[in-house]
Amino acid sequence: MTDKSTNRADIQRRNFLKSGALLMSFSLASGVNLMIMNSGANAQANAKIRWGLLIDANKCSPECDACIRACANEHGWENNGKLTDPQWIRKVKLKNKQTGREVSLPLMCQHCEFPPCVDVCPTGASFKRKDGIVLVDRHICIGCRYCMMACPYKARSFVHEKINNQKTTTPRGKGTVEACNLCVHKLDRGDGITACAQACENSGNGAIIFGNLNDKNSKISRALANYPSVELRDDLGLNLAVRYQNI
């Protein structure tokens, strides 16, 4: 089954590449302005790219929740403090038990290279894209929640009730599991940044750097090469795409 769909996908892609990619924009009768993205080869999931985030806990202000609001707004989720409410990204406050030092940081799906959620998913709904983004294919998610049991970061939420008025770019619905998708729709259309990183930049804190971990010259790679950073639960050997500094 999977083979077949990959085949089709390949055919479609080949045809598509032959036809070339253009950027155009035109108006529809209703007045809605539709834009066609130039994406082609560079915007679709590319195995040469590995998207990642670098989060500097020192620069993250404890009071600021710009990244959370940006994510909620981008993807249309809401957390009102109920235990059943989703939370794609959350602010965690840390206090070192020995030294008493306090920091805060945003925590979201870490987009592991070896994601436990993908290993345990019975149907393969939980999967990793070629560019390292870990996603839930909600078309085949049966809502068993085993991935939520398996995630070391509690990154995933289960949609407990009916949802209306979803964002068109982020379909989500009752009975399936969801998590940070690294703003995959934004990356695919070539925005080159996630909502949280953009919001953090706009807030002036600049605690989140987004970029391609495989590109040695990207800002994120240079920062990682020059300053110490950690992975959360690095004992698990999952090789995370989200790294932290100054925890």
Binding site: A9, Q12, S39, P171
Partner: protein, 146 residues
Amino acid sequence: MRVLLGALLIFIFFANSLIAEDNFPLIPKATGKPHPEGNEFIRINHMDLLRHDRDLVVKEGIRNIDNSLAQCVTCHVVRDENNEPVTYESEEYFCRVCHDYVAVKLDCFTCHNSVPSAEVSISLFRDENAPFERLMAYLEEKDNDR
């Protein structure tokens, strides 16, 4: 037993008249350009096209496809008396008109938004020349797979 068979025959007879042509659902008019492949083609194949392209989007991140659901929703919007788009919860919703008629469950809109959104970039029939040929190639491929 004979009574049962008789009842069944009578039922079939009437059921037949029930699906006579004048009882077909009234399909709401769409805005935008017509499907280059023809409506009949889309009526028969829309589910395969949607499934094929959803896999492209979700798995491969190829989003400038011909048959995105957001695109369907944009052109096939049905508006109520206040000129507001109706959601799939209304019986007048474009997809539901036929889906209710043939009693096929509509599953897209438990997750996807059923009304058009202005904020989104969606591809319209981007490649004006080739989509039909490509569709044919795809469907041939599908036939070969079977």
